[in-house]
């Protein structure tokens, strides 16, 4: 694929997004913008209890209210579902028991929203409260009351315990060992668009259609079919343009199933749009996570062994938690060569809205812990933190100790570019008191190597149809959540066919009309949809070239397509307009409709747990952050961020920069102010005012540096950028605060209160640290021992497959 490099026409060009015009004119229709004739408005009644048995629900008064058409409760939709096959623990409305304050217990459909809301106040629910479990420590300590009965014991949801190589031996080889504890506070996606779904059940056809703001139409289709006991092929899900996802719209949700059920009961379309408060309860955001890390190093800083333990607060349901549990320990090894590595994690249930995947899914927490820990290690050893990292870096074409295959790897270039651009060497340790610079690196996957549910089918398929008008349509289930997937598909297809992105008509995200794509999660779309689109477009091009070659009397191999023309490379005057070539092709071959399918490479590891982490490729990032801290108020102001990202090759550099800037933004919110915090069993602040999302005034300038490594598995060499750049920013800020003030805030968010507390402590001769004090007393089971890949860290291709 890299051969196409020499003469790229649209790939790599800063062209406008194909959906920019609709968005800049207000024409883009988001889910809540839709309405249908006779549509009813639905609303959800929320649990007032964090943990309770439902003794009685009486909806009779609500049903009597004029304008109310239907009311349902948990008994009407009792079938369990969940995003992961091992986590089928949700119901659309609570059945017999509620597990967090804000969990939906009943749903109303009415002629208008005023009436629906009024009806909610007429539903009587009698609860028998149970003791709420609100923290990791409580969940580990208290076997009763149990939040779920289906897990083997207490409130332990998932466990992971793995050892690669021989950690005891690795620590024995170490000259120096350090251990640290960190806490990462939970936070949420806060998409500007509230989740919304419009359902229409056609009783005559026996078919359900759901328009929804979702990142995963395919998984929603499966969950709807299951929860409503319909055949999957009777359920059509159309993902509407998503007004912000960040992982928060990747699960099947209550309101989607309730809207569908209410439509089935009433025979009328039903729309449910979550209130902002309900978006906080839908959540699936960042897990609060307590982490312990211990690393052994040689005197020169080379790592000999590492242990990492993570305690994840999962909230009340599984969601993606089984995967998140493993992500706590999976990617430490793709930035650093760790010869012996032990990883143990436990995810507990608590009586809070369920946690799940937020941008970086399960990896920002351990990355924060790891990068701050290494910063401390470097100081202990008297090394420049950059130097410590350079001595441990992975390289291209390696296999990690946990059997992840790294293909391209631009981490070293990212670091070099950041050191140079930020003035790291001149600034570190030399800025005036209060000002500081911090550094960190990170890596992320380009798509999960395994689907959510086990199957042998492709992860992504694209159809390309060329008709006699010269119009090209690409069909894909990918959904643009703002990351630019529509533009990626159009750009790839346009490049191959010699057209422009705006020439490509897109039909996307409709389970009836488009071939599979698993969804906009795990940074998979550019890699997987891009490759499928490339393959489909190449097949179409082949047919068009064959027809054109005959017409022009030149061999196919000499043909090239660009600027909407097919021409002889040797004699460009021998040319056909693309539309003419398309007509010739249709005349000769019939309908020009081609397909592409993408399956990620087989994973190398076969141990239990090896399904989380493999990816076709990994993106790399490095970051420096300069801060100005006020030692009197504890305020931390980020002055500037430099971020270098190994993108492979950019399909569109504007999109890439936008993802970097957005990632930096989201990271700064997480590290400085955002908290999904609870008090007395309730979300502390489920509002836009009290959940502190940074405004335009907090955003510092960002220097984005694109490092190109030409990933052999990526479409036109491309890798992901949607999530990876977020990861390193958080620890870089923490490290910068240390450089500025000499205090360690080992707990997010880094608030002024914590900074002052650490400074006070330091002034009294203490260590100047705020963070967790002790590791929970929890006995992990003996780790499963996994042999290191033979020849580690060098990759031997014959072992693949």
């Amino acid at each position: 694929m890299a051969s196409a490099r020499r003469s790229l026409n649209v790939v790599g060009k800063p062209l406008p997004r194909v959906d920019a015009w609709g968005k800049a004119t207000g024409r883009t229709r988001y889910a809540d913008d839709l309405s249908l004739p006779r549509m009813l408005y639905g609303r959800l009644l929320l649990s007032t209890q964090p943990h309770a048995l439902i003794k009685r629900i009486d909806v009779s008064r609500a049903l009597e209210l004029e304008g109310v058409v239907a009311v349902i409760t948990g008994r009407d939709v009792p079938v369990r579902y969940g995003i992961m096959p091992v986590g089928q623990d949700e119901t659309a409305l609570a059945v017999d028991k509620v597990r967090y304050a804000g969990e939906p217990v009943a749903a109303v459909a009415a002629l208008d929203e005023d009436t629906a809301e009024e009806a909610l106040s007429l539903i009587e629910v009698e609860y028998e409260p149970l003791r709420p479990i609100m923290s990791i420590e409580e969940a580990l300590r208290l076997p009763e009351p149990r939040i779920h009965d289906y897990v083997p014991a207490g409130n332990i949801h998932r466990l992971a315990s793995l050892e690669f190589g021989d950690v005891a031996q690795g620590f024995a080889e170490a000259d120096y060992v350090r251990e640290d504890l960190f806490f990462f506070q939970g936070n949420t996606h806060l998409p500007m668009e509230q989740h919304s779904a419009l359902a229409y059940w056609d009783p005559a056809e026996g078919k359900l259609t759901l328009w929804s703001s979702t990142q995963t139409p395919h998984y929603v289709q499966r969950a709807l079919a299951k929860a409503l006991e319909l055949p999957e092929n009777r359920v059509r899900v159309i993902a509407t343009p998503v007004g912000g996802g960040f992982g928060g719209k990747s699960d099947p949700f209550h309101h989607e199933i309730c809207a569908a059920k209410l439509s089935m009961l009433t025979g009328r379309p039903v729309k449910i749009t979550l209130t902002r408060e309900e978006v906080f309860y839908a959540h699936r955001g960042r897990h609060p996570e307590l982490m312990w890390v211990r690393t052994g190093v040689k005197r020169d800083g080379r790592i000999t062994a590492m242990e990492f333990q993570a305690f994840l607060d999962g909230g009340a349901y599984s969601s993606y938690g089984p995967a998140t549990t493993y992500y706590a320990g999976t990617f430490q090894t793709i930035t650093y060569r760790i010869p012996h590595y032990r990883f143990q994690a436990v995810r507990v249930f608590t009586n809070k809205p369920p946690c799940g995947p937020k941008r970086g899914h399960g990896t920002p927490q351990p990355r924060y812990a790891l990068e701050v820990h290494l910063d401390k290690l470097a100081h202990d050893l008297g090394l420049d933190p950059v130097e410590l990292r350079l001595r441990n870096l992975t390289g291209p074409n390696e296999v990690t100790v946990n059997w992840l295959h790294i293909t391209s790897n631009g981490l070293r270039q990212c670091i070099e570019r950041i050191v140079e651009a930020s003035g790291w060497r001149e600034k570190r340790g030399r800025l005036p008191y209060g000002r500081g610079i911090g550094f960190a690196v990170s890596a992320y996957m380009c798509g999960a190597g395994l689907p959510i549910y086990y199957n042998d089918m492709p992860h992504s398929e694209v159809q390309v149809k060329v008709d006699r008008s010269g119009n090209v349509t690409a069909y894909s289930m990918a959904i643009d959540i703002g990351q630019g997937s529509d533009t990626v598909i159009a750009t790839v297809v346009a490049e191959v066919l010699g057209l422009y992105p705006e020439d490509i008509r897109l039909v996307t995200a409709d389970t009836d009309l488009t071939p599979i794509d698993l969804g906009s999660y795990s940074s998979r779309v550019t890699m997987m949809v891009g490759n499928a689109a490339y393959e489909a477009a190449m097949k179409a091009r082949q047919l068009i070239f064959r027809a054109a070659a005959r017409e022009l009397g030149v061999p196919v191999r000499r043909l090239e397509a660009r600027d909407r023309t097919v021409f002889d490379r040797r004699d460009p005057s021998r040319a056909l307009p693309f539309a003419e070539a398309a007509r010739l092709a249709e005349a000769r071959f019939g309908l020009i409709s081609t397909i592409g399918s993408y399956r990620p490479p087989q994973r190398l590891g076969t141990y239990k747990g090896s399904g989380v982490g493999p990816s076709p490729a990994y993106s790399y990032s490095a970051c420096a952050v300069e801060v100005q801290c006020d030692p009197e108020t504890g305020e931390v102001k980020v002055e500037k961020v430099w971020l270098a990202h190994d993108i492979g090759r950019p399909i569109n550099p504007i999109l890439v920069e936008g993802q970097i800037e957005g990632s930096v933004y989201m990271a700064l919110g997480e590290v400085l102010m955002e908290e999904q915090a609870f008090r007395k069993g309730q979300h502390r602040a489920p509002s836009m005012l009290d959940y502190k999302s940074p405004t335009i005034k907090e955003m510092p300038p960002v220097v984005s540096i694109l490092v190109e490594t030409d990933e052999p598995r990526g479409p036109f060499g491309a890798k992901e950028v949607g999530q990876g750049p977020l990861l390193c920013v958080i620890p870089a800020v923490a490290n910068a605060v240390y450089d500025a003030l000499g205090v360690r805030i080992d707990e997010t968010p880094i608030t002024p209160e914590k900074v002052l507390k650490a400074l006070d402590e330091k002034a009294k001769g203490g260590p100047g640290r705020v963070g967790p004090e002790r590791k929970p007393d929890f006995a992990f089971r003996e780790p499963t021992r996994v042999e290191r890949p033979p020849g580690w860290p060098h990759y031997r291709p014959h072992e693949e497959g």
Binding site: E193, G243, R276, G662, Y665, M688, I696
Partner: protein, 177 residues
């Protein structure tokens, strides 16, 4: 002011729950009979089908529903439709002039200032009102003017760049046409 106003009037009888309203939206006159508790946001989206105006909280904490009222940005979620009587409303659908996009719309598209696009209408309208009163704003002025609209995608950087670009283009005499 009279010292004693305690004499009963018939205010209570005059209190209304519905009222006729005339308003001009994007140059189009409308006459509506609306419940007094209906907000301009609801009227625009649900009665006039102008769904370009978004909402993210409905209580003035996000800025998504910003529209221009007589040229000034206001939150449509906190404006009663009955109080817009006789006034001029501009929504994102009204930014185009005779099929030609506003320079801000072009700049937002070209600079990558929209990602998910959900805050874009509010950003565009707020920026328009800024450029109407301050044709070449400083970056600080842009930040101040747009500080009432949240965005979770872009980090605001390309939005600022787009406003600067539009300002330059609108200022350049030969590019106005």
């Amino acid at each position: 002011m009279a010292a004693d106003l305690t004499g009963r009037s018939n205010t209570v009888a005059e209190a209304t729950t519905k009222a006729p309203v005339r308003l001009l939206v994007n140059g189009q006159p409308y006459e509506l009979l609306v419940p007094v508790h209906r907000t301009l946001l609801e009227t625009l989206r649900e009665d006039l089908q102008l769904t370009g105006t978004k909402h993210g909280c409905e209580v003035g904490e996000c800025g998504m529903c910003t529209v221009l009222l007589d040229g000034e940005p206001v939150l449509s979620c906190l404006t009663l439709t009955v109080e817009v009587e006789g006034r001029t409303v501009t929504t994102v659908e009204g930014l185009e002039r005779g099929g030609e996009l506003h320079p801000l719309q072009k700049a937002f598209a070209q600079m990558g200032a929209t990602q998910c696009g959900y805050c874009t209408p509010a950003m565009l309208l707020t920026a328009k009102s800024l450029l109407d009163r301050s044709p070449s704003p400083s970056e600080d002025e842009i930040r101040e003017a747009l500080s009432g609209v949240l965005c979770r995608c872009t980090g605001y950087i390309k939005i600022i760049a787009a406003v600067e670009m539009a300002a330059r283009q609108m200022g350049a005499p030969d590019s106005v046409a």
